[in-house]
Every structure is written in structure tokens, then in C-alpha cells.
Point group: C2
Chain length 159, copies 2
DNA sequence: TATGAAACATGTCCTGA
DNA sequence: TCAGGACATGTTTCATA
């Protein structure tokens, strides 16, 4: 992964709609080698996938809720059931196992508080939770899917 | 926005690399009307953008940290400066103003705890914060950019 | 819905370090 | 041997009727 690959990644994580020709021009390559690099980045999994990002408000899910969960069940079977229940709830868009006093953190998107209550009930119906506390976001000030590229290790040799 | 639009959105937010021809076939349209619908969804902002999602581990930012921030400054100028400082820190990928006892919530991605300390220092150097508490994620169990489509209001008439 | 021009993707082959 | 470049072919995009 050299400087040109990084440039390609920077472009594509900002605008996945760029054509190969566009990218080639911007990174100073002709179409073929650029296309080969992109394909290589996809095949080796550096580029995980390409997606369209939709507008939360237009889809009527403008409200974000963070849910802190504590549990007294700390066995793998319970977690597997929990993970699978959460996976089936499309309103849950992020789900982390945490260090510290909170065990799990969920990010949920819904139209309003009433709808959040519906998700909450689905959640506690599916799985036994010890303590659940919800915080509402008033404003989304920044949201990006673009990762920082400053920490990438150079792998020019292992290509 | 009718059922076919929803189907198009569902496909594109899962796989933004699908060609128009692919989508047309899957939603049961011929190429031209399908293409017009996609363009309309882009022009009206329902599709905000297309991006490539990269692999956190491959880019050496496998560690996620949530940062809860409390402040004693509640004026718009301070928030504007805070927002702009955060915008300049690429490690901060999400940033919300919260209701409740925490004022702001950040999600940060870094390679390790040492790197997080660097980001933390940049943050407090840029802006005056009252109370900062960090929680580390041990495991990302679910992360999706796909929004739930179940709450979309039908706008067939207003097309 | 159909047609068609232009742009694009993507394979093969060739060149030079 | 490896990365870039030229070219050829099938596909896709997108305007028009």
C-alpha cells in the first residue's frame, strides 16, 4: 500500500461514485493500472464495500438514541443470542461491547420517542437485560464513514 | 416515494456498486425508468452520496473510543469553535450534541490507546472542556450505514 | 419503451525499469 | 519480473424521440 493507493482510498471514501477514469487522472495514472489497483484493494478487503448513504430525515429516522446496557449474564451463549436479536432490529445501526461499567452500547435511529419505545420493547422482549439507560441526541454535528488514513502502515514490499 | 423506490434504496444502501441494469432487473423495470428514478433520488437528496467503506483493521484504526464531554460553556460561539475543531480531527468520525447530563458524545477511531491520548490532547488544546470521560469499545458487534426503511412516508402524490 | 452516441469498464498484449 | 500504458471489446449511461 503506497502513496498512490492511499490517494485512491482517500478519493473513494469521500466519493464512491467517481469513475475509474476520474480517479486515474487525479492520481496521475492511466486507466488500466489505476483500475488494477482499485480491484486489488477490493480483493484484499481494504475496500470492504461500496454503499449509498441515504438521508436520515427524508427516510423519517431523524432521531438518534444511544442506549447503554448493563447485564449480569457474561457467557458467550447469552451474547450470541443478544447479538442475533440486535441484528434483526434494523433500527440498531451500531452495537459495541464496551470496557468499563457499561457492558454494551447501541446506536439506534427512529422517527421519534414513541418509535424508540417500540424498539426498546422489542429489545427487552428478545433478551434479558439488567440495566438499560437511553440518551437522546439533539443534534448530529458530524457523521462520516471516512476513516483517517494517517496511521496506515506502508506495505510497498508485501504487494 | 413508492414501493419501487424503496426497493431501489434498499439495494443501493447494501451495495452501491450495482449497475443500473442490475437494479432495473431486480425491481422489475427496464433500464431507463429505473435510471430516472435513481437520478431523481440523488437529485432530491434522498441518496446523499456514494462512498467506499474501508476496513478499519487494514487501515490500522481498529480501536473505537466513545468520549463523553460536559462543558460549562453553553453559547453558540463556543459550540461553533468546538464543532470546527472537531471537524479538523479526522479520528473523530461521529459527534453529537446530547440531551441529559452528558453534553456531547464523540466516536473516535485510533490504532491504540497511545494514539487516543494524542487525539485527546489535540482536543483539549483546541477547546476548553469541563469534564471528559472516555469509554473503550472492546468489540464492534454491528456497524451498518443502512437505515431502516420501515418508517418512510409514502409520497407517491408529491413526486 | 426504444434507439443510439458517448463514456466507461475491463480484458489482452506490449513496453521499459 | 513487475508496474505502467495502448488498445480493443462489450456494457452502461443518459439524451432524445
Amino acid at each position: 500500500m503506497d502513496a498512490i493507493d492511499l490517494k485512491i482510498l482517500a478519493l473513494l471514501q469521500e466519493d464512491g461514485g467517481l469513475s475509474n477514469a476520474d480517479i486515474a487522472e487525479r492520481v496521475g495514472l492511466s486507466a488500466t493500472p489505476c483500475w488494477r489497483r482499485i480491484r486489488h484493494l477490493e480483493e484484499t478487503g481494504v475496500i470492504r464495500r461500496r454503499v449509498a448513504l441515504l438521508d436520515r430525515d427524508r427516510l423519517n429516522v431523524g432521531v438518534t438514541v444511544f442506549v447503554n446496557i448493563r447485564t449480569n449474564q457474561h457467557n458467550p451463549e447469552w451474547l450470541a443470542r443478544f447479538a442475533s436479536a440486535v441484528d434483526d432490529i434494523p433500527e440498531v445501526v451500531e452495537f459495541y461491547r464496551m470496557a468499563g461499567d457499561v457492558d454494551y452500547l447501541l446506536r439506534i435511529v427512529v422517527p421519534d420517542i414513541a418509535a424508540y419505545d417500540g424498539v426498546y420493547k422489542r429489545l427487552i422482549a428478545a433478551i434479558d437485560l439488567y440495566d438499560v439507560s437511553s440518551s437522546f441526541a439533539m443534534e448530529e454535528i458530524k457523521y462520516t464513514t471516512a476513516l483517517p488514513l494517517a496511521y496506515v502502515k506502508d506495505r510497498s514490499s508485501t504487494r
